[in-house]
């Protein structure tokens, strides 16, 4: 199995305790340490460049800080951060699309078919997979990455993406064959 990225319960507890003690800045620090990198990678999956991903990462935690005191402890802080990050990334993409309507969000990289039957290393697979993920819609890419890269459960994804778990399950299970076929077109057999 690939490495799990579970909820950091220690960080969640520490952040909630800091909030109870009116130490919002301390809570913010704990959350940035625990979830900063994964939220950054999540933002990168939307923005497709490091600079914008980092802007969105910072914006996410700034907005989280503004709203930390009103956070309901019923939902995980991690899922809540993902929700903020998703909304900020989508806002940014919408603004960019309005301003640069002639530039597609995803610049489709050219397919570079390899000789079928060649042994496929992990690097080649990852490169081809990145290429294939760039070709699917943002909604599909986000669902697939949250599920298999971030290891989120469907209830968590439901809260973040504001779509039903059933819809997301279908989307993910349909995306996998699509990605598989895309890999095959590039000469990658799993």
């Amino acid at each position: 199995m690939w490495p799990l990225m579970p909820l950091d319960e220690t960080a969640e507890r520490a952040a909630l305790q800091a909030l109870d003690n009116n130490q919002s800045e301390h809570a913010l620090r704990r959350l940035m340490q625990a979830y900063g990198t994964e939220i950054y990678r999540f933002c990168y999956s939307f923005m497709k460049n490091r600079s914008d991903a980092e802007d969105m990462l910072q914006l996410t935690f700034m907005q989280a800080y503004e709203a930390l005191e009103g956070h309901s402890s019923k939902s995980s802080l991690r899922a809540w951060l993902y929700t903020i990050a998703r909304n900020r990334c989508l806002d940014k993409l919408k603004a960019e699309r309005r301003l640069q309507t002639r530039v597609a969000f995803v610049e489709e990289p050219p397919e570079s078919p390899m000789e079928s039957g060649d042994p496929v290393g992990d690097d080649q697979l990852v490169a081809a997979l990145r290429n294939c993920l760039a070709r699917v819609s943002t909604a599909v890419r986000t669902a697939v990455l949250l599920r298999f890269q971030r290891e989120l459960s469907y209830p968590e994804m439901e809260a973040i993406l504001q779509e039903s778990a059933k819809t997301l399950q279908v989307r993910v299970s349909r995306a996998l064959p699509e990605l598989h076929r895309c890999l095959l077109r590039q000469g990658i057999s799993l």
Partner: protein
């Protein structure tokens, strides 16, 4: 004989739903092979972008900005209507943090119906839009508001409806007409190209001239 595709058609969804697979998937060679392929695919997805890390100083930038926003809010509450409900906290609409720590900007808005502030990006005709921006480390700054991407409502930094206080600019305007309103903050160390009224053109021209541009959340008046 054609290949069995039941694992792709049915098995993948069952797994995502957390349901058990029936004996067919163990007995069918094609399905067993497909299961192995998808395990590898999922593992590959899981390993994507593992090397990606934000810059080491990002947390400090967030903390700096949080402190800056706190100071801005304290001053804003004095500048704006004193009797406004305290529950109406500022909505951070757009913030851009440049990798150059010397330059940072933010742009946020509040909407008011009478004396009552509310969150969101939808307003009614007659509501008041209050913008606040911070531009640190820039020689030239302009706050603009456009309607429907084609009409410039204002562009200012110190004259009405703008009011400048240190590195902050505030503006307040009534949203009298239907349409989509878009606030823009421009920051530059050289003169900012004048506004023509066409949002896309103005933003692209300003960017080409080296300005840093923050586009706020759009507000629909309907």
């Amino acid at each position: 004989m054609s290949r069995c595709t039941r694992f792709e058609d049915e098995g993948l969804l069952r797994i995502e739903r957390g349901e058990a697979l029936d004996s067919h998937f163990d007995e069918c060679t094609d399905c067993r092979h497909a299961q192995q392929e998808y395990v590898r695919l999922k593992r590959a997805i899981g390993s994507l972008d593992e090397e990606l890390e934000p810059s080491p100083e990002w947390q400090e930038r967030v903390l700096d900005s949080v402190k800056l926003a706190g100071a801005t809010r304290a001053n804003t509450s004095r500048w704006w209507v004193g009797g406004v409900a305290l529950a109406a906290s500022a909505v951070v609409a757009a913030v851009l943090l440049n990798t150059n720590p010397g330059r940072a900007g933010s742009l946020s808005h509040e909407l008011f119906s009478g004396q009552v502030a509310y969150r969101g990006a939808a307003a009614k005709p007659g509501d008041q839009l209050r913008l606040q921006s911070t531009a640190r480390g820039s020689r030239y700054t302009q706050l603009r508001l456009y309607r429907d991407d084609q009409e410039l409502i204002f562009s200012c930094n110190d004259g009405p409806p703008c009011e400048q206080e240190s590195d902050r600019i505030f503006a307040s305007v009534a949203l009298t007409a239907f349409g989509r309103y878009q606030a823009v903050l421009l920051m530059s160390d050289s003169a900012i190209p004048p506004a023509t009224g066409a949002l896309d053109h103005d933003v692209l021209t300003a960017r080409e001239a080296g300005s840093q541009v923050i586009v706020g959340e759009s507000i629909d008046v309907r």
